[in-house]
Symmetry: C2
Subunit: 350 residues, 2 copies
């Protein structure tokens, strides 16, 4: 759900991609993104594409051909990271877990000690399964091995604390349409000084000119023409970030946790089991298991046709096994949980 | 300039990237894009990025490593095509001309016969210089040599006939913020059946997952999730294309030519020389030479400060030598030419 004020911002008159006013907006966006990412990284900007373009920017700039790329694999987006790494010509190694589980400190350390990768990647909030990974142990182990860490924060940013600096994440990317409650179209990304050094030392040119971070930095820092960034999208993102600051980040995170707890309690009361164990759940993406004998597609169709509520089903190894219920941004409220549960109970026939 | 109705469309409520309504909008956009491109190509869609992402899509999908890529080089964006081709690992060969000149049929044929490239690229309307290239002779020569042709139509689409099918262009990409009069954020692209066969026969995987045309086709044709396309941007583009259809494409093209002729006459009356010779000028991007003794930066600053009019200067080999004056979309009218010329005469002190 996108707030009215964000829609209004999108309809403001366009200015050029080198206009001084455009850079005013860009500066504000970059500073507010540092706040939500929890970082002081100078290199914090928004790529002109959707969340997956942020993933491609991270992999394309930091995973060199022939380098070793270690992926913590417990969901769909870990597979996408793997695919992008392979296309870059890297030697990709994976530590596998069933979708919905997370990696413990000793598992992370063992894997990284054994593989000695150049770059490590994990997904902070795996939207395909509903599991929230603790970034700290992965980052600690990676830094011990002098590897840099890429974190996919597509589903977490703006709804869950990401704490880039505190956790030691080197590269984090996200999208605008989930925790930031903005339409899709830009991909926020932040890069630590450590990762920036790695970029400077890179031996081969980045293959994707459009997503070449050095050129993007020259554009956003040096105002040197690269591509025609969309003022419209920056207006929207700026207003969405202001909305978050107006509420207060802590308040926003707490609101998400509060709504999540109410929702989980309602599921349990209804006899449903959560797919992810307590303490590792994404507050804004809830994944109860589909009860035995229930056709999840029918339930989802009923919700959409009769209540205008769109929830997602599982896919991949979780196809037909879980519901995926987003509860984020303006929707993460008590009354919305009640509204949803009433419809959900009806759809389930309980 | 963006029409009010396009701004209104941008503020419409977002729907999901797999929502049936989203695909209704996408279908309309694809059909209207076929109209402005002048093609019946099935593969006609919009990439989720700006015009340069369209260039990267064209080069990344069709220029394979080790292949021969022939670029007609007469401006800044030809250099960008060259750079992207090199990053893909292709053998890039160039036919050079001073910025502002175009390539004749015999020159195109000689170059292609000599080099026997796999892929040929040219820029239809070179915004850095103001020259409009006739696509036909390049496409004819390329097809004789069994090469496919990429055309950059960033500045031409929507303001000048592109006639993809009639000219024999295999791959054309564009942007939304020039001739289509929409904010930037998407890159229309069209691919001929010939080029589609080439894509199917490709031996190496496309390195850019985000811009992989096969995956984009599976998404837009097969509704198979790839990335989260922005409903907002599609709403805007759809409305911009409807606006063009409401006016009529022929009428729109004629309006641009009419305004262009008035503007050129006014420049000549003022004693200015056009940088590009008659018959090869881009109607919507006019490049008079800066008169001797005139500081172009001062003129541009005066126009911006006193009249709120933003025109561009030359760069690269034309730095300080030309003005670049956009006259497109809703702005391409007689009254705007008069409005501009009054301010321009004052800024020049004539």
């Amino acid at each position: 759900m996108v707030e009215h004020r964000v829609y209004q911002a999108l309809a403001q008159p366009v200015v050029g991609h080198l206009d001084p006013y455009f850079f005013e907006v860009v500066c504000e966006v970059r500073e507010l993104l540092r706040n939500v990412f929890g970082t002081r990284n100078e290199i914090t900007l928004a790529v002109s594409g959707t969340g997956s373009s942020g993933m491609e920017t991270a992999v394309g700039n930091f995973v060199e051909p022939e380098s070793k790329f270690a992926v913590f694999a417990n969901g769909f987006f870990c597979d996408r990271l793997t695919e992008m790494g392979k296309r870059q010509g890297a030697n990709v190694v994976r530590l596998e877990k069933p979708w919905g589980e997370v990696f413990e400190a000793d598992e992370a350390a063992d894997f990284i000690d054994r593989e000695k990768p150049d770059v490590v990647a994990f997904v902070h909030a795996e939207t395909s399964a509903g599991a929230l990974q603790n970034p700290k142990p992965i980052c600690d182990a990676a830094h011990q091995a002098d590897a840099i860490v890429i974190a996919d924060t597509v589903t977490s940013l703006g709804a869950v604390p990401v704490n880039v600096d505190e956790n030691g994440i080197d590269v984090a990317y996200s999208c605008t349409q989930k925790g930031l409650s903005c339409p899709p179209g830009l991909s926020p990304i932040t890069v630590s000084p450590r990762a920036a050094d790695r970029l400077k030392a890179r031996k081969t040119p980045v293959r994707e000119w459009y997503l070449d971070l050095k050129l993007l930095i020259d554009y956003y820092d040096g105002r040197k023409y690269h591509h025609t960034a969309s003022a419209t999208m920056f207006y929207g993102l700026c207003e969405a970030l202001r909305t978050i600051m107006d509420e207060g980040m802590e308040q926003r995170f707490e609101r998400h946790v509060h709504a999540h707890k109410l929702l989980v309690k309602a599921f349990v009361d209804l006899g449903l089991t959560m797919h992810v164990r307590e303490g590792h759940r994404i507050p804004n993406l809830n994944t109860p298991r589909v009860p035995v004998g229930v056709d999840d597609a029918k339930v989802r169709k009923h919700l959409l046709d009769h209540h205008g509520i769109e929830i997602a089903g599982g896919f991949g190894q979780l196809a037909g096994k879980i519901f995926r219920i987003g509860l984020m941004g303006p929707l993460a409220t008590e009354s919305n949980v009640e509204f949803f549960m009433e419809a959900f109970r009806e759809a389930l026939g309980r």
